[in-house]
Symmetry: none
Subunit: 252 residues, 2 copies
């Protein structure tokens, strides 16, 4: 994985990921929202229409951001969409029982700006159904846009505009960066973390702590715990080392 240089501006290390978008016009409008704030890395996971990038509605809404729309990559799962990222944020108006910590757009933007070695993704769900739990649980944080409790449903492109805007504002010299979670080493990639979870799960089954046939909420709970920490690569290695030794002990 190519991590960005320490001083890479946020504009080159923030990706927008749209999952199962129904309306091609929204994809165009997101491209425009991104470009107005200086962003260009757009990935579409299974858009409803495979030719969404060429749809006349998408082109019309993209307006002067045709280059961002043309450059959008289409992939078939969230893993591919997050390739190369070490920090992912799910945008959701809905709070869930087992969710990563909930941040505002402003705290997210401050965090990403302050940590120059993060390569971050903001993940947006379908217009009607939002994001599946399974994707939310893979993310480090959940972004909840402060809104009217009586009607909190922002249009997809409006939500993207707010996130892009806050990310730009954080990068402006005047803005006060939030910088909440401090860490020193290299942030682990999402793929490294997924591998660790699989290894850990195996170990917990081997010592009969986890019943594979009736896992209840153990793994989601552990994921929520670690999602709060922004794991470093060396920490992932330590945790895998522990899993490894547990498995050996169980086999003896």
């Amino acid at each position: 994985m190519n991590l960005p240089e320490k001083n890479t501006p946020v504009f080159n290390r923030l990706r927008f990921v749209l999952v199962e978008t129904s309306r091609s016009g929204n994809i165009g409008a997101v491209a425009r929202a991104m470009k107005t704030m200086g962003f260009s890395d757009l990935v579409l996971v299974n858009p409803r229409f495979a030719d969404a990038r060429e749809d006349p509605e998408a082109v019309a809404f993209a307006s002067g951001a045709q280059d961002v729309l043309d450059g959008a990559r289409i992939v078939s799962d969230i893993g591919q969409a997050l390739e190369g990222c070490n920090f992912a944020a799910a945008v959701s108006a809905r709070l869930r029982e087992f969710s990563p910590p909930v941040w505002t757009p402003r705290s997210f933007a401050g965090h990403v700006h302050a940590h120059g070695d993060l390569r971050a993704a903001i993940v947006f769900g379908n217009e009607r159904f939002g994001l599946p739990n399974q994707i939310v649980e893979q993310c480090n944080v959940l972004i909840n846009i402060p809104a009217n409790p009586a009607y909190s449903s922002l249009n997809l492109a409006q939500a993207a505009q707010v996130l892009a805007y806050e990310s730009r504002m954080a990068a402006e010299p005047d803005a006060a960066p939030a910088g909440p979670v401090g860490f020193h080493g290299d942030a682990a990639s999402l793929a490294q973390i997924d591998g660790m979870y699989a290894h850990l799960e195996q170990a917990l089954v081997a010592i009969d702590f986890l019943d594979a046939d009736n896992p209840k909420k153990l793994m989601p709970r552990l994921k929520r715990l670690f999602a709060r920490t922004q794991l470093e690569t060396e920490e992932v290695n330590i945790l895998r080392g522990i899993a490894n030794h547990i498995l050996k002990a169980a086999r003896r």
Copy 2:
């Protein structure tokens, strides 16, 4: 002119004014942007289509903000639109030779929130031509949304979303949680956490991952990891459960 009571919340004293809007869909999208942030006072100055409020595109884009769209007033000049207001801000990407002072959305929002006796209007121009100088000159301030110098043209409804969002953020600072690390359960006590570390250490020694005579930096590293998470009592119990099962497996 009826000025608001001193303590009237900003939601009841901020008006959105759209001048000569071409696309009815944009009017609907602005209504939605407003309602998601708690605003409802919408005035249309000479929209291109007199029946814009009933246009199917407007209705579709308004989504759950049909009430704001229905309640929009249509007037024929800016004077009528600003009736009852004592502070007006023109939104423009273009800076002009003779313009009022230029503010950011954030400084505008903070100012209006802080001055409870202001009844303010945000004035947005036509999608292609923006606002005529004559209207800009009538406004107290010009709001310039920080943007990509290479492409600073926000869609009308996106610009309205940014302004509505900043106005809500200024009024509801509590909406932004003090610390971005959210958790749901009881925070574990330090004694509980210390007990867990001792238990974990014992387990790691039992599976030969940790050499008690030469522990190196393993426990401090693990402590640093967990210290970042604000552990909950139930999570401490889960981790002790894991340690317990590791010890049992090692003794077998």
